[in-house]
Amino acid sequence: MISLIHGRRKLALALLILSVILITVILVSGYASMNKAMETDFSRKNQAPSLKYPFGTDWLGRDMFSRTLAGLSLSIRIGIVTAAFSSVVALILGALSAILGKAVDSFITWLIDLIMGVPHILLLILISFACGKGFWGLVTGIIFTHWMSLARVLRGEIMQLKQSGYVQVAQKLGVGRLQILTRHMLPHLFPQFIVGLVLLFPHAILHEASITFLGFGLPPEQPAIGIILSESMRYLVTGSWWLAVFPGILLVMVVVMFDYIGNTLRMLLDPSTYHE
């Protein structure tokens, strides 16, 4: 057997690192320009994109470039946190479902079917409404509506692992269930967990933007991408196209990059599930 570091894979890894760097840049610079993003200055309002203001300015004279960066940074942060929590919920519920026996398994499976049976956005609206339509409603909503597929996958994996030789031996030796899970199974679940986690980011970000756009998430003072885009609607008719186009393009770029990172990780860590 010949081992080669294949050219194409090297390229993929390089692009992955580049994406991570870009995202970090956006994250940090957006956070840093929070204040600049909120500065209003009526003398420069409604300006089309120029060298000084590459994304133009809005009706309050705010620089759209820093606004967009700040908004993206916010979305990325929320996306990462909610995806992380959601994955942990998926791991816990998936594991419990696979280990604690038929009753628990049936209950959790029924819960998954129920949550997946109600249209996603509607559920997000309901949860947001339940939490008072603010930031916490947004976060809770996203966390509790994204864990299901990953939970199913992990549950399947753990059930398969349960049948494997070394697990059965450990059980016979009297090792506790929790120990078996953490010491023997988790290392095997790791690749799928990480890939699942990273692939949740783009979904979380898109849903956060959507819900905020509808008016259910962050308050209008925050420069969230959803807010930026929903407010831009009024001014599109009067010709300020830059208010919607640039923030959207950058949002798509960020989502595509996260997607790319997730899929490349899958290719590298778990080649059997990767369909080229």
Partner: protein
């Protein structure tokens, strides 16, 4: 009774029970969530300033109207009892029966979602087949790239772009609503309705395509790598024949499941798209209900939309059982 018929009736009955249980649980979940809400409907819909100028009796009347003071279980049971009899309550925002509000909006939504469902299904299926049959080729990469791009783009932004390009810059299509403003009911033609639905439908189709393309492509690849395709090639069939004689038929069955399962996603997309185009469908009603605390309407929409999604999946299972000879003939044994 023939075994086949008996099995069909059992199948239908089982699914009916599943539907009822699902709707029950969904409504309980929804009700639980709305009861938890700290949102004061009075604040939202009447406004702080107005509240300040109302007398205590008037506030009390409003509170009873918005159902603020009853305990939750009592309220749920009352709601459920009425719902079963067909009375979905009265919409607090629209001041009409929830059933008639939903009825009107459902009609608009069906036009929108229906056309988007058809278009995204047909186009998505075709693109998926082409991509899967020509795996690795240039056209496959383009189709895949397009699907990935669309999947990464929020539906409401595509809607904004379309609004910008077609309604503001080129003025081909109207900016919003479902009918021309200021025109009397009797004078609204079918063409008017269609014109107003075109942009939202186009946007919804575009967003719905990506999932269908990617999944159809995967299924097509599975088929092209199957043993029976290998044997077909070994028997001298050329690729085109393989795709049409074996590929289409074998992908069709999972594709149908996919297509009906995408109904839920289309509904989600419609919520966003209707908002941008101010199209008066069910999605836009859900948003208004959520923002305004219109609980009866929210409950009604939850139940109806969950039922629609369930029906979609159920239809997929039904068709599967009819089309796939392995299930159809297997069942008769």
């Amino acid at each position: 009774m023939k075994t086949g018929m008996k099995k069909s009736i059992t199948f239908l009955a089982k699914n009916l029970i599943r539907l009822v249980l699902l709707l029950l649980c969904a409504s309980i979940l929804a009700f639980l969530l709305v009861s938890l809400s700290p949102v004061d409907p009075l604040q939202v819909n009447v406004g702080q300033a107005a509240l300040g100028s109302l007398s205590r009796e008037q506030i009390k009347k409003l509170e009873t109207y918005w159902g603020v003071n009853d305990p939750p279980v009592k309220r749920y049971l009352a709601w459920a009892k009425d719902f079963i009899r067909g009375d979905m309550g009265v919409s607090l925002l629209y001041r009409q029966d929830v059933s008639s509000v939903i009825g009107q909006k459902l009609a608009h939504s069906l036009l929108l979602m229906g056309s988007a469902w058809l278009i995204s299904g047909i186009v998505g299926f075709s693109l998926g087949i082409i991509a899967g049959a020509n795996r690795g080729s240039f056209i496959d990469r383009i189709i895949r790239g397009y699907a990935l791009l669309t999947a990464s783009t929020p539906a409401f932004w595509i809607a904004l772009l379309f609004l910008l390009i077609f309604a503001v810059w080129f003025r081909i299509f109207p900016i919003g609503l479902s009918v021309p403003i200021g025109v009397e009911e009797g004078f609204i033609t079918l063409t008017d309705r269609l014109r107003h639905a075109i942009l939202p439908a186009a946007v919804l189709s575009i967003t719905g395509i990506s999932n269908i393309v990617l999944h159809t492509r995967e299924k097509m690849i599975d088929v092209m790598e199957s043993e029976y395709v290998l044997f077909a090639l070994a028997r001298g069939e050329n690729k085109r024949s393989v795709v049409f004689r074996h590929g289409l038929r074998n992908v069709l069955i999972p594709a149908i499941t996919l297509q009906f399962a995408s109904i839920g996603e289309i509904f989600g997309g419609s919520v966003l798209v209707e908002q941008v185009f101010s199209y008066p469908g069910l999605g836009q009603a859900a948003v208004s209900a959520g923002l305004g605390g219109d609980i009866p309407l929210l409950m009604g929409i939850t139940v109806i939309s969950t039922a629609i999604v369930f029906t979609g999946n159920f239809t997929a299972n039904l068709l599967y059982g009819i089309i796939d000879p392995r299930i159809r003939r297997g069942a008769e044994k």
